[in-house]
């Protein structure tokens, strides 16, 4: 629950700053270009996240590899388990 509250707090903080800059709530008289940049920020963050996700998926697809040692380990464990079960009288 605390993690959720942390995230909610952070998101609302960023959202408040964004609203302050975009709608000029405090009459900071920022240059117009700043507001033009700040206005599509949420969508920009979303697009960046999408690009990052796509790149991660692509990179993992490109460098996908076999886990030969893990395969050997698993085969060994299967053998062990079969012998153990046979000792205990299970027929396979």
């Amino acid at each position: 629950m605390t993690k959720l509250l942390e995230w909610l707090f952070g998101v609302s903080l960023v959202g408040a700053v964004w609203a302050l800059v975009t709608f000029d709530l405090l009459d900071l008289s920022l240059p117009k270009t700043y507001r033009e940049v700040a206005w599509p920020m949420p969508l920009y963050l979303l697009v960046s996240f999408g690009c990052y996700s796509l790149a991660t998926v692509g990179y993992r697809v490109a460098t996908f590899n076999d886990c030969e040692e893990a395969a050997k380990e698993l085969q060994g464990q299967i053998k062990e388990a079969k012998e153990d079960l046979r000792k205990k009288g299970l027929k396979m």
């Binding site: 033009e36 960046s48 796509l54 790149a55 993992r60 697809v61 490109a62």
Partner: protein
């Protein structure tokens, strides 16, 4: 191991996302600071489209996900009713 096709597909995904990120960053963040009569503006659509196009893309994506979920659930429900 990843085959040649896998590597090509993965790398093209990475390159595509990097290109998209760079283009969108320039469009949204750099362009407001460039004079409006600069050459750079010729290569970008008007600024409204930097919000409209991703919005349309998001709607289409959500529709596709919804349709996919509906199809999968519909296919899974049929045999249960027959049982």
């Amino acid at each position: 191991m990843a085959t040649g096709v896998d590597q090509a597909a993965g790398m093209s995904l990475v390159v595509f996302s990097l290109l998209l990120f760079t283009y969108y960053s320039v469009w949204v963040i750099v362009l407001p600071f460039v004079d409006s009569d600069h050459v750079l503006h010729k290569y970008f659509l008007p600024r409204e489209y930097s919000v409209i196009l991703p919005g349309i893309a998001a709607v289409i994506l959500l529709l596709c996900i919804g349709a996919f979920t509906a199809v999968v659930m519909w296919k899974n429900r049929k045999p249960k009713k027959a049982d």
